[in-house]
């Protein structure tokens, strides 16, 4: 029953004075004292609150501070917290109650960061009826925005907001009609945050770790490869400040995924770069993967720690606490090593050279054999080749096949997944979705199989390390042993489910799609060969 707020962004020809005049001539108005506003919007680096339809902002007025949680229209606060003692960073810091219940799961392990700061002046008009009752509030706001921590403010332009009063919808409709017909304004769905970001040349959701390329089939393969690599390089660079500051674990995760995708793209999109260029970067990118690994390992353990703990019977749970302390301490030292690596000339040089290479215009007459081929052909052939390999390797896996072969299969599956993600825009969306989904089932299964094993082995290694570094309670080692046991049992379960997961992937629907979507050389027909001999 509560009518939502309407937002309008005014074109530059409308000044505040002109607006006041136009409205004042048309409606009986009164005004409240002007208000100043200083506010900061918060979200996770990858916009989890915004994606969930939620906004969180801190408004400051003198000494008063309000932490306000609202919907995307910026008005009708769902909850407002006066003078919070400290600002929430992680989900457990959120004030308990509705805010924590709704925003906590959206944020998951990510930290809240200040996204944009706004300061503005608001003129508040009240439209009156013949009882001199307020039937609608009109807020005219002129503001400036800046990136938190930066010095320069950017003008946001003039915006207008209609704040309905309950039970006065006719009056609201009348004002809306006036704005549309007489002032030529269009309602815009987004509020202050979008306007503030626009002033900085940004927009909401401008970072995502997901790939969303739009290629056309006739594009040159080397140009497309460059575009993919540049996007991944941007992702790597965007995450570096968060990795260095250890803001949350997902900066490093996203960085590592982007590096992995880069390495995969380098080797899988074959024949588009000169061999010597490929060699120049391949090894150094592998080095990035290697030096970022230890910190990520610790992060994974810490993120999953509560889960580990809860997998033990209650009486043994507290025995794991020394492990947590150990992990925290070692995470910190690994993080320091990692920061040193990222600050090293080697790392910075790599990114710089890589960017220079990618941004240089593609050579006129490239030596690489497939550089000038159409991307649809190159991509289709490659996807089909990797698919074939997944099928051959997958079909050869039997109950007693060594674990290494499953790990190898996982690698092939990952290559296939990255290829499908890079090139999905070249194919019908629905069909690609079916393939990615089936592949995901298989990858999840192989991932579990390998991760449980790796984790179990790593736990054993950690136990040795803890013993070597000093006194560790026997109970802790026992509890860790129980964890290892649980992990190995879950690994076994994953193994048992493999056949079922692979059956989904190797089924008729999926194989038909691979055959029809991706051009490939027809297989020799064995039947015909046989007849000829």
């Amino acid at each position: 029953m509560i009518t939502p707020v309407s937002n309008y962004q005014l074109p530059t020809e409308w000044s505040l004075e002109a607006c006041l005049h136009a409205l004042g001539d048309a409606f009986p108005l009164d005004s409240d004292p002007d208000q100043g506003l200083v506010c900061t919007y918060f979200d996770t680096f990858d916009w989890r609150l915004y994606k969930g339809g939620e906004l969180l902002r801190l408004e400051q007025e003198g000494r008063e501070r309000h932490l306000i949680w609202s919907g995307l229209d910026d008005a009708n606060p769902r909850q407002s917290l006066r003078n919070p003692e400290r600002l929430p960073v992680f989900a457990p810091d959120l004030p308990p109650g509705a805010m924590a219940e709704r925003l906590g799961p959206l944020m998951a392990m990510r930290a809240l960061l200040p996204v944009v700061e706004v300061k503005s002046r608001m003129v508040i008009l009240r439209v009156l009826d013949d009882e001199e009752k307020t039937v609608l509030r009109i807020v005219l706001e002129e503001g400036q925005a800046r990136t938190p921590g930066s010095a320069s403010w950017h003008p946001m332009g003039l915006s207008l907001r209609l704040m309905p009063v309950r039970g006065y919808n006719e009056e609201l409709a009348e004002v809306k009609r006036f704005l549309r017909k007489k002032m030529g304004l269009r309602e815009c769905p987004e509020g202050r945050l979008a306007a503030a970001l626009a002033a900085l040349g940004r927009k909401p959701l401008d970072y995502s770790s997901k790939l969303d390329f739009h290629f056309s089939p006739d594009q040159r393969a080397d140009a497309v490869a460059r575009q993919i690599h540049l996007h991944l390089l941007n992702t790597i660079e965007a995450n570096i400040p968060g990795v260095k500051a250890a803001t949350d674990s997902e900066f490093l995760h996203d960085l590592r995924v982007a590096v992995r995708r880069t390495r995969s793209a380098l080797t899988q999109i074959k024949g588009v770069f000169e061999a010597q260029d490929l060699e120049r970067f391949k090894g150094r990118l592998a080095w990035v993967g290697a030096v970022t690994g230890p910190t990520r390992d610790m992060d994974v353990y810490l993120l999953g720690f509560d889960g580990y703990q809860n997998s033990l019977p209650k009486a043994f749970r507290k025995d794991l606490e020394p492990l947590r302390e150990f992990l925290i301490a070692h995470q910190a030292s690994e993080q320091q090593t990692l920061v040193n690596r990222i600050n090293s000339p080697h790392f910075r040089g790599l990114l710089k050279e890589w960017r220079e290479f990618l941004e240089a215009p593609p050579p006129q007459s490239p030596g690489a054999p497939k550089a000038r081929k159409k991307i649809a052909k190159v991509a289709g052939r490659r996807i089909y080749r990797v698919y074939e390999r997944v099928m051959i390797e997958g079909l050869m896996i039997l109950p007693n096949t060594p674990a290494e072969r499953l790990h190898e299969l996982r690698k092939e599956c990952k290559k296939l997944r990255y290829l499908l993600e890079f090139f999905q825009s070249l194919y019908p969306k629905k069909k690609i979705k079916v393939l990615v989904k089936a592949l995901k089932v298989l990858l999840d299964n192989l991932g579990e199989f390998q991760d449980y094993e790796v984790q179990a082995l790593k736990l054993r290694e950690l136990a040795h390390q803890m013993v070597a570094e000093g006194s560790v309670p026997a109970d802790t080692l026992l509890a860790m042993g129980m964890l290892v046991d649980g992990l190995l049992r879950r690994q076994q379960q994953a193994r048992e489910q493999f056949t079922e997961c692979f059956a989904v992937f190797s089924g008729r629907e999926v194989s038909d799609l691979f055959e029809t979507l991706f051009p490939h050389k027809p297989k020799p027909d064995l039947g015909e060969l046989g007849a000829g001999s």
């Binding site: 029953m1 009240r126 001199e132 009752k133 309905p164 009063v165």
Partner: protein
């Protein structure tokens, strides 16, 4: 959601002023607050500058049941809404009498609002009727403004007898002295003697004050135009005490 009835059998005892001022204080603290002006004289509606009309009147409301929502009007103040009075409310007794479970109709109407409001104030018409019985049964607390005179005390006793006689339990009785004139001997005597005899009597009282009467000129709660007045302070003290009792 808490429902607070403001009621007296007698009229002209400062009932509507109490309902509007206390509801305003509740809203100012951030509680989502609604006043339902059940008095066909529509004084609360007038104070909040809303037109006294409800589409379809009380007949439609009681017959159709769950449509209170459509009639609510936002006041000029944050968190404070009003369900305006309507002239048809003078016949509400008859409408209620025609319904099933006539004494529980208002509670049925109010229930769906529990998601939207933290506090609902009912500004009740004077006299004992089916409407007032409905209010007694719906309310968590009953504020009873009482002028400190012997006659007023008699009506309070009548009310108590009615509540006991109709087995209306579960409602917190909160009589308080209203329109207290310290120049009058009788008012002072009552102020001194009665708390001993009526332990439910609120400690805070509202003085007789011209700024309260001026609500009709300003058409706004007292705190809006005379925040630091004697009567304004008195309402704040009374509100603090009411919150403690609920």
């Amino acid at each position: 959601m808490r429902i607070i009835g403001v009621y007296n059998i007698k009229g002209g005892v400062g009932k509507t002023a109490a309902a509007v001022n206390l509801a305003y204080l509740s809203a100012r603290e951030g509680y989502r607050t609604l006043i339902w002006d059940l008095d066909p004289q529509a004084a609360a509606t007038f104070y909040l500058r809303v037109k006294p009309e409800v589409k379809g009147g009380s007949r439609e409301m009681i017959k159709r049941g769950n449509e209170l929502d459509d009639h609510i009007k936002g006041s000029d103040f944050d968190n404070l809404d009003l369900l305006p009075a309507d002239f048809s409310y003078r016949n509400m007794d008859l409408m209620l009498g025609e319904a099933k479970k006539p004494a529980k109709q208002l509670l049925r109407l109010l229930r769906p609002l529990s998601e939207q409001y933290d506090r609902i104030f009912l500004d009740c018409p004077p006299s004992i009727s089916l409407v007032s019985e409905n209010i007694f049964r719906a309310a968590d607390g009953l504020l009873i403004p009482t002028i400190p005179t012997t006659l007023s005390l008699r009506t309070y006793r009548q009310l108590v007898e009615f509540l006991d006689g109709h087995r209306v339990n579960g409602v917190e009785r909160m009589p308080f002295f209203s329109m207290v004139d310290r120049r009058k001997r009788m008012h002072l005597d009552m102020l001194e003697q009665l708390p001993g005899r009526y332990p439910e009597l609120m400690k805070s009282f509202i003085p007789y004050a011209s700024e309260v009467e001026r609500m009709g000129i300003h058409r706004a709660p007292l705190s809006v135009y005379a925040a630091r007045s004697v009567a304004g302070d008195a309402y704040e003290r009374l509100w603090a005490e009411v919150k403690g009792r609920l």
